[in-house]
Symmetry: C2
Subunit: 243 residues, 2 copies
């Protein structure tokens, strides 16, 4: 019985993929992943079995990975960014637990979307921060709203994953309303789509004006804390140093 490596490929561009991730992909027999991510690494895949599948098939992919591994294959389960942050690491370990499987699971961390987005924007995350997914497919919207309120009250820098999709458009509007109860309208907000990937697009805006710009599932939204400022187009959250 071989093992499953849950591989974080980072933002997608190979310049930001770790050698450990690259090596895991090259040395595996079977590669499983969401089609978009498989396409990002297609040049690394030769003479291997590849199973790509559509969105929302996470559990199916994990079961397939276990099936192949139990038959003796070395399997790479591919995740964008860091598989431990809204990626495939958890689902894989949950499925292994459910099936009471003895297959070994290794997680290879990657550069997560919020790190890539922050690097593009300047240095917005330099103080305590909260990461919140606005997707209510798997989490009650009341829980998410409460977290937004508490993170806003705590003056955390706030990073939002999955802010908006074609069928889910009101959450980002509600999130902004909550934030406006605690922070100034001029609070800096960064929107980064496809961070450190081809077609990267970044906007530096404010809580007041953020909804006037395009936001979708590929966008990471970073909202500054009460000390965050913009200088030369870069968002900077001071750490508290005496300069």
């Amino acid at each position: 019985m071989k093992k499953i490596v849950v591989v974080g490929i980072g933002p997608g561009d190979e310049a930001y993929m770790t050698p450990a991730a690259r090596e895991a992909i090259i040395s595996s027999d079977v590669i499983i992943g969401y089609k978009t991510y498989i396409d990002l690494i297609s040049h690394l895949i030769t003479d291997k079995k590849v199973v790509d599948s559509g969105m929302k098939r996470e559990i199916e992919r994990c079961n397939l990975a276990l099936d192949f591994a139990e038959e003796g294959a070395a399997v790479a389960l591919v995740s964008s960014g860091d598989p431990g942050i809204y990626g495939m690491a958890g689902a894989m370990l949950e499925v292994k637990t459910q099936r009471d499987s003895k297959v070994e699971i290794e997680v290879i961390p990657g550069v997560t979307a919020v790190s890539a987005a922050a690097a593009v924007l300047g240095a917005p995350l330099m103080h305590d921060f909260a990461v919140i997914s606005l997707s209510d497919l798997l989490t009650d919207w009341k829980v998410i709203k409460k977290r937004l309120q508490l993170a806003a009250e705590g003056d955390f820098v706030i990073a939002l994953y999955n802010p908006k999709s074609k069928g889910r458009v009101t959450q980002i509007e509600e999130a902004r309303e909550i934030l406006l109860h605690y922070r100034e309208k001029e609070t800096p907000v960064g929107l980064v789509r496809n961070a450190k990937r081809a077609e990267e697009a970044a906007v530096v805006t404010t809580l007041k004006e953020m909804l006037q710009h395009p936001i979708d599932m590929l966008t990471v939204v970073i909202i500054g804390n009460s000390n965050t400022f913009v200088e030369n187009g870069k968002i900077i959250t001071p750490r508290g140093y005496q300069l």
Copy 2:
């Protein structure tokens, strides 16, 4: 005038350093960094000017980097993990702003300590999480305590950076007390020292027993949310999938 690249080297082991970070180090004229991190990449440094300095000299290093860049050098300012998360990106941009310098600053993101630690522990970060530094050198302890309370109340997974140092030992005890007001004693806690680096050491414990294990400045502490569980020695926070 050349530019400054603020380079995130990840945990330290080259298997987890991105090609972009490696290339930035190799192609620069001057390397500046905290001694411990310079040592981790010494094999990449040949015929370059190297300035290493001790802890708490962050602003001095940023001023030096600007001095060299203004004289025409390509400078790599080295940070462990991701320079945008409690790293050098913010200080560098703050110093540039203060000096009103025109030097270009690029940030190269890396695998941050919490991603590396989570990968070692299993999948503890799979739901909304808060990242909090327990160091009160630059932040009022009252602010940090309030953030701990709010993050605990919001049922965020909580990652603690800088939990304890030789001269600062009570904060982790107070943090645990705060958490115990909101979470069960048996809540899983992971302690990872030197994640994905030589001498890596990980402990899976609970809120009740966490202080019985060694914790220092090189340790990342991850405290589960109310759904987090341990299976086969791995910490798993469920995402909410129907299996």
